[in-house]
Symmetry: C2
Subunit: 336 residues, 2 copies
């Protein structure tokens, strides 16, 4: 394993971001277990505002699945009661977005309740139930696209208190932004430069070999070459596709199954760690010249150690686990 190796700096072609791989700071990868209770605030809690029967305690519903269900709903997409952005403000007009240093906080902030029952986690759902959650994201993005001043939609999940979750009931969030956020613009810039050099999309050509964890008909799961965090996982569509919201029902089912497998393996191997996942997609309004080098994917990050002043200061991360070691460990996890 990595312990006898020298430190190495790696930069991937997707983000042009240096990561320091530092075996001296590693515990052995297979000893890498989460110590924190993923839901310390939910020890004795059995019901909350997100549970079936508590719908009136929530901010207004946007839609539910199945659409015609009553108390037997499976998924609800609702407004966030404490939204980071406001749908009531005037949308910024597109001219003003380029120059100024202040713009109104117009946007949407929704919550996706993934199950009606409090103790059910995403990994407890079947692949086709997870597919329904993915299709709920897709449906909401299609609604949000209708707003000209919405430039980007970020879908993400916080699981466990140290991954930021304030509610333990299984849920994810969708934020529609009036700007293209830094991560997305940096990724496009980097993929564009890579495309200019190689003539190929960096994610169609992504290094697999010893980084591959698993694969399905339409997706592969890997530990990225320059993973920012130990045991970080990416799920990448095999076929070139710029936007997550192009996902069809067939691929959603396939993805539901691979996403479940990755979350289950991570949970078994790393002792049910808190985690985040993020869907990285292209900005809503891209022109056709940008299509060849934009390729959506899902990033899964277990929260195993915090960050400190070095990362805050430099924007550069220290990862004690080499990606090929993490991939091997995850490849070999046995599902009981």
């Amino acid at each position: 394993m990595a312990t006898s190796r020298s430190p190495e700096l790696r930069k991937d072609a997707i983000h042009s971001r240096w990561v320091i791989f530092s075996p001296a700071r590693a515990r052995r990868p297979s000893d890498f277990k989460s110590k924190s209770d993923p839901n310390p605030n939910s020890k004795n809690q059995t019901e909350c505002a997100f549970c079936a029967g508590h719908e009136h305690e929530c901010a207004p519903e946007i839609f539910r699945f199945p659409p015609d269900s009553t108390s037997d709903w499976k998924i609800r997409v609702i407004r966030n009661l404490y939204p980071a952005l406001s749908r009531e403000l005037d949308p910024p007009n597109s001219e003003s977005v380029g120059g100024p240093v202040t713009i109104p906080g117009f946007g949407f902030h929704d919550v996706v309740i993934e199950s009606p029952a409090h103790p059910i986690h995403l990994t407890d759902l079947s692949a086709d139930q997870i597919a329904d959650v993915l299709l709920a994201y897709k449906k909401r993005i299609h609604q949000l696209r209708a707003f000209d001043s919405i430039k980007y939609v970020q879908v993400f999940k916080n699981h466990g208190a140290s991954a930021g979750a304030s509610m333990s009931h299984s849920h994810s969030q969708i934020v529609a932004l009036p700007i293209v956020p830094p991560t997305a613009s940096a990724r496009i810039q980097s993929m564009k430069e890579d495309f200019a050099q190689t003539g190929k999309c960096g994610l169609c050509q992504v290094k697999q070999d010893d980084l591959l964890i698993d694969e399905s008909s339409h997706f592969i799961s890997i530990v990225p070459f320059a993973a920012t965090f130990p045991f970080e996982i990416w799920i990448v569509p095999r076929d070139h596709s710029s936007h997550f919201h192009e996902l069809d029902n067939n691929k959603a089912l396939d993805l539901g199954s691979l996403l479940k497998l990755m979350l289950v393996k991570m949970s078994l191997q790393l002792n049910n760690p808190p985690y985040n996942f993020m869907i990285h997609t292209a900005p809503l309004q891209i022109d056709s010249t940008e299509l060849p080098f934009t390729h959506w994917f899902i990033q899964i990050v277990p929260q195993l150690s915090g960050v400190g002043g070095f990362e805050l200061g430099t924007g550069c991360y220290i990862n004690p686990v080499f990606p090929e070691d993490a991939a091997k460990v995850l490849r070999e996890v046995l599902i009981p």
Copy 2:
């Protein structure tokens, strides 16, 4: 206060980074207190490897202050026992740094022990003792500059477990990197563009007014206009200066006093929160054309709330406290 205001996006001229100010997500700023014990792992600990008398348990010393002290040292600069980078590797030659995706992890990783006594925190030291710590950073940077392949030196402090600290004995760290890290290069790019437009250095002209907290002969302390974190503080030299290591003894004393004041105010107002501080300086080898728009400063970040998938995904932060409100609160803290 901010609670009746609408959300707003702000971008500063220093980092060109959008931050979402979201009053709906705020508790009232003056209720903003840290709940976490900054040093949970040190409850019963009274001595450690960083204490006087335990020098043999540490990685080798680089220098101490006063230089000719024996057991009565005040500050020790030592090697990190688990370094992220290795001083034993061949330094990368400068040609190879531009292109490749992997470079050897050459560099230096040191620890600055700020006091010989375990229970003493940085805020317990006098202004001139803090000045000595600052001058120890300076001295070490002057040594590290001698290596051609060192491009940037990051000085930072982690205080408290949730700010990343694994050792509770008061200390800071110095990492010498073979690359210019993303935060520094993005800052230079942004300051350069701002300089091209205004003809002035963005930090010489930094907005003060309602953002000012305190000032000394040579420094001001502010909450930055687009603060990424609630109650983030910057200490900025009044006179234009690219590199922290230009600090002279006189200014070090003045800075020691203002840094102490900021840390004491933060601790009183926010209930002794875990925190990080970072010294943001220019890369070691900049050419004279870059001098006019590089200006070092110290960033202090109390750790009041974690981040989640939104920040990991977008690189965009949600700050529930407007900077002018945080500045007012910090301005008015009474020191008993």
